[in-house]
Amino acid sequence: MKDHFRQSMAWLHTWLGLLFGWVLYFMFITGTAGYLDTEIDRWMRPELPAARYPLPQDAAIGQAQRYLQTHAADARRWSITLPIDRNEPWMRVSWQAARGMPPAASGNAYLDPVSGQRLETRDTAGGQTLYQMHWRLHYLPDAVSLWIVSIATLVLLIALVTGIVVHKKILADFFTFRPGKGQRSWLDAHNVASVVSLPFQLMITYSGLVFVMFSFMPLIATAWYGPGHAGQDAFLDEVFPPLVSAKATGRPATLVSLQQVHHDAQSRLGAKPIGALEITNPNDAHARVQVVGSFAAGPLRATDILAYDGVSGEWLSARRPWQSGPKAFRDSMLGLHEGMFAGPVLRALYVLSGLLGAAMIATGLVLWTVKRRQRVERGRGTPHLGLRGVERLNVAVVIGLPVAIGAYFWANRLLPVGMAHRAEWEVHALFAVWLLMFVFAAVRTPARAWREQTLLAAIVFASLPILNAMTTPQHLAHSLLAGDLAMAGFDLVALGVGAMFFGIAWAARRRQRQRAPW
């Protein structure tokens, strides 16, 4: 009885892993990059000065208001983000044009908090786009990618649980890794990568599902709130009660001094940091200002939001971070998943765990091919199209994706600054190179493809600091001396990644020379 159960779970685990492994690998790599999104942003916008935070907010807010008033007086919405931690290292303002206006009328800008001047940077997709691919994929309509990502996450949860169930000696195997034994070694690697980071993997998968649960399980809301959009909207309104509803009246009025609102908010919040100001209907009689605390104060991804009348500056209402148990559970899940609250050490652990997750998937995929390839070599099967295809897909995804991301960074430095649609072309470069990797893998034998693509990855990443030095004044020595940790860190990590790929390429070559089981 138990055997049949184990067998069917093993079958389920294998096939789910094979079908969704590549998508999940993509999600793990982009998600891990997401933990370093603002650092990547910083490297991709070398024109920005080194970030300094937190900054005295008073003067900054005054400058921001002046800038927005000059450049976006008719906008429907303004937003001012203040630098308080690594999640928003620079002051940023953005404005949303009134309905019916062309999209170009909306925009955002980095501002110097002292002078109020706009900081000009190259048009780049930045680390944010790389990070957003984690759930939006790319080139696909949002609804489609949401479904793919949601299903993939659920599959991952099932794969994790079935993996645990199937792993007979999970405790005894905990520290076991036997290199050089072919299939056995790959299984050991797969087990170690998964079990060692298991709490993280379970947390990240479950919290990922919580992220999408409104769309994935809408019928639950329907049961309580009634069918259709009205029911869904009613539900969302109750979970996120709107603070102040105010339609624009069309009657112009002077916007209150935001510094005054800021002072009032500070007196109410005490020592808690203020992260942003959102202004709705600026310069209108029904203007509203919302002062938002920091979402990154702790694992609970919720904060105080204070609402003010935008003309009189009078305090209207507040939403506190803690509203109810179930909502706090959701907010904690989101907070843990995003890890915005993580300081440098914890962030490094997040990145390590993310990479282990990617390794878990990669080793699983390779294990599948090694197992079947060994069966073929022992004469117990033929190398059918499926095996050959998967072997090639594996290298194209596992190594090809990092190569493509490296190409993305190269494009950021090489594409001319004034080019039209520059940001989109950076992303096109990523996918074009990735496509090349697929073609590459299709025409070479898997063994050669692994060596060659790994070597390529090593070169692409290791030479990023050199490329940086050649195309901008912010080379490694300069950023280290200036204390620009994000810039220097990126260069150093690129070197480290390059070194790691060199190591893998060298190990692959040595293994193949010895003709040891691969």
Binding site: L12, I158, F214, M217, I220, A221, A223, P326, R330, M333
Partner: protein, 81 residues
């Protein structure tokens, strides 16, 4: 495999199942909270259900094992809400 179809039936079964349990449990809970809690639990149930469907000895057993609780849950939910 027939088990795949059994897994698909779950997509409709689960919300109902969870909702029923939640509804019967809590008398004085705000609606939005109940929904949040139910949604949060639904994934655990979904995972278990898929594993069950694949562990079942036959397609019929899978369908029955999932369909019957789903129906029961749906009824309970409908009655309580």
């Amino acid at each position: 495999m027939a088990a795949v179809l059994g897994g698909y039936a779950l997509a409709t079964a689960l919300p109902a199942a969870i909702v029923a349990i939640m509804a019967s449990g809590m008398g004085g809970m705000a609606r939005s909270d109940a929904v949040l809690l139910a949604m949060s639990l639904s994934f655990v149930v979904y995972t278990g259900a898929v594993m069950w469907a694949f562990a079942a000895r036959s397609a019929r057993a899978a369908w029955l094992g999932l369909g019957l609780p789903a129906l029961w849950a749906g009824l309970v939910a409908w009655m309580l809400l």
